[in-house]
């Protein structure tokens, strides 16, 4: 199905914002200003945006360690996200979550997750809420190839099918679970083949191609929303940065990342597709590039200048009796 010009611009802006955000966090992390563990989504943007373009606030997603892209695609506030990553008081989670736990339930974003495979059971619950309360919402679990092997993922696919839930399981296979190749760690020839074992439709899609992701996402989300039950989608894609920032990635082939960036970058592919088809003008895309960069500049400067939480914040938002 053809996307409107507005939708094309929206998709490009969302993908470009994620890229600018992640590139900037990469640079800032290298200066030592960003604390803790950070896992970046650059290279995978077409997946988060391709799915989340179909979603509304009533729809829920659960994310992974590599959650910034899903957050932005689901509509989380970029300033609040950057402040959270810097541990600031006015961060999306008050500085209590950090990069691995960014969440905004009002946007339907149920959290990045520090536990590999932590999200799929939660998504069964979100889908159950939607079904029981009749909201018409759907729920999507984003997991990586690593979590595709976790028992929680299998249990959740089984439960979603048994309970006939409006759920979608999206496996983003970026080739590596931390440093371990998915070619080695996944027993199945293809992750998508596992769908058959759970009696649900399975789809495999090139995650560098926004349009392909968007089309498959439409099909599985429509199916879930209309009572057709859960689906599995395997998205084949690549990440540009390490498992975490500071990962030297010596497990990757020589020139591997550079080759990916030059040949199948999802933003470049999007750009050439829409320009060749005459759907958008180069100037429009350039403008979005500049605006995204400016937005991230502002968010970063704002986060650096923002106040830290204080002792008064330490024991709020938790039940304390001791």
């Amino acid at each position: 199905m053809q996307l409107s010009r507005d939708d094309l611009l929206k998709a490009y802006r969302s993908m470009r914002t994620i890229r600018a955000f992640e590139d900037r966090v990469h640079d800032e992390f290298a200066t030592g200003d960003i604390p803790g563990f950070v896992h970046l989504y650059a290279g995978e943007e077409a997946s988060a945006v391709g799915f989340c373009m179909h979603l509304e606030d009533r729809d829920r997603i659960a994310s992974t360690h590599r959650g910034h892209g899903h957050c932005i695609a689901k509509g989380c506030d970029v300033d609040g996200m950057m402040m959270e990553i810097y541990g600031r008081k006015d961060g999306l989670c008050g500085g209590k979550g950090g990069s691995m736990h960014i969440a905004d339930l009002s946007k339907g974003m149920m959290g990045a997750n520090g536990i590999v495979g932590g999200g799929p059971p939660l998504i069964c619950g979100a889908a159950l809420s939607a079904k029981t309360l009749g909201t018409g919402g759907v729920a999507i679990a984003f997991v990586g190839d690593g979590a595709s092997n976790q028992g929680t993922t299998f249990e959740s696919m089984n439960l979603a099918k048994v309970w006939d839930l409006p759920a979608v399981f999206v496996v983003e296979d970026n080739g590596y679970a931390e440093s371990t190749s998915s070619r080695w760690s996944v027993s199945a020839e293809e992750i998508v083949h596992r769908a058959e074992a759970f009696g649900m439709p399975g789809h495999q899609v090139d995650g560098h191609d926004f349009f392909a992701v968007h089309e498959v996402a439409r099909e599985v989300i429509d199916r879930a929303r209309s009572g057709g039950g859960p689906s599995l989608v395997e998205v084949k894609l690549n990440r540009y940065y390490g498992h975490f920032e500071g990962d030297a990635q010596t497990y990757r082939g020589e020139g591997e990342v550079e080759r990916l960036r030059q040949t199948i970058d999802c933003l470049d592919l999007f750009r050439s597709r829409v320009l060749e088809a005459g759907l958008l003008e180069a100037e429009q895309l350039d403008e979005i590039d500049a605006e995204a960069k400016a937005q991230i500049d502002r968010a970063t400067a704002g986060a650096k200048a923002a106040p830290m939480p204080t002792r008064a914040d330490l024991l709020t938002d938790v039940y304390i009796s001791y």
């Binding site: 939660l122 998504i123 069964c124 619950g125 979100a126 809420s129 089984n158 938002d317």
Partner: protein
């Protein structure tokens, strides 16, 4: 007032809360029972019949049988709680925490804090604890100290039918995740329980028996053991104050300290394994905040540090009883008590 069993009291609390609030749902293995089979739909109502009849009254959509996949459905309950439902999930035996604990302590317990107060998780996990059923090492543990250790969880230990109903209704109305520990040896005990719904606040101990000589703190089934010991000691002129804190988290330390200030002696009876359990925690806190009240060393009565044995001969030796409590008191009152 009608007498009701612990089982009936829990069933009634669930029923009344489900009638009051359409967001309350039940899920768990065999909570209805018979799903997908040719026979009776509501065949079991839980392995010990606690949820029997609820499906008939509330419907299949709100009493959900699950596959035997605890991570999947306990996590689903957490996710449902964070998105608008108020699920009561049954973890059949607490011993099964090993196959779903991540979803409890890393997910449900942390949402509210980790997400900066923007999430509530009104989840209740009902689970069976305790020895005495000849159920052996993997179906008889207590394990509540493990949950008590986790910030963000509330841990509730009803010792009788009246407590069970009021505490369960409180749990369902609470916006934090609550683990509700039901002792499997208490299901058939009966006492008077009001028909109408009522709540018992968390963190408020019940003084089960007054006394000036020794403070006995006990939880769940051990409250009955403590009362038996106290009755026996009373005949020997030793008056025990028996305190049931009702919840291990939050813990009503103030009531315990006030009692110890009066009696000067403390015995804690805790059916869980003896290292790092609730008894060690209470004794440590009294040592810190009430050391000067103590006329004698505090005593902890717990099982030995061993798995729960199967054989009735061994299991009876394993579980603390009135005699072991009396012996502990004899050690700190050598002039008064001959055990």
């Amino acid at each position: 007032m009608a007498k009701k069993s612990y089982r009936q009291a829990i069933n009634e609390a669930l029923m009344q809360e489900m009638e009051r609030d359409h967001r309350v749902i039940l899920m768990g293995e065999d909570v209805a029972g018979g799903m997908g089979a040719e026979g009776e739909d509501d065949a079991w109502g839980g392995p010990l019949g606690v949820t029997k009849g609820l499906m008939d009254k509330c419907g299949r959509g709100r009493v959900l049988d699950t596959p035997i996949t605890e991570s999947g459905f306990i996590g689903a309950a957490a996710g449902a709680a964070a998105t608008g439902l108020r699920p009561v999930a049954e973890l059949m035996f607490v011993d099964f925490m090993g196959v779903c604990f991540d979803q409890i302590y890393n997910q449900a317990a942390k949402f509210r804090y980790m997400f900066g107060g923007k999430a509530v998780t009104p989840l209740v996990i009902r689970t069976m604890i305790g020895a005495g059923f000849r159920a052996a090492a993997q179906h008889s543990q207590c394990l509540y100290p493990v949950f008590t250790h986790i910030p963000g969880l509330k841990c509730v230990m009803p010792s009788g039918p009246y407590e069970a109903k009021g505490l369960l209704i409180q749990a369902i109305r609470d916006d934090d995740p609550v683990v509700f520990f039901e002792h499997k040896m208490l299901y058939d005990i009966e006492e008077e329980v009001p028909d109408e719904p009522y709540t018992i606040p968390f963190g408020e101990a019940n003084i089960v028996r007054d006394g000036d000589d020794v403070t006995i703190v006990a939880f769940s089934r051990m409250v009955h053991v403590a009362q038996e010991a106290a009755a026996a000691l009373s005949k020997k002129g030793v008056e025990c104050e028996v305190i049931d804190p009702r919840t291990t988290s939050p813990l009503d330390l103030d009531t315990i300290l006030e009692s110890v200030e009066n009696t000067g002696r403390l015995v804690v009876v805790d059916e869980s394994s003896p290292r790092c359990n609730v008894a060690t925690d209470i004794v440590a806190q009294v040592a810190q905040d009430g050391f000067n009240f103590l006329k004698a060393p505090a005593r902890m009565v717990s099982p030995p540090h061993a798995p729960v044995p199967f054989s009735s001969a061994l299991e009876d030796l394993y579980i603390p009883n009135a005699s072991t409590v009396t012996e502990a008191i004899a050690e700190i009152m050598p002039d008064k008590v001959i055990a």
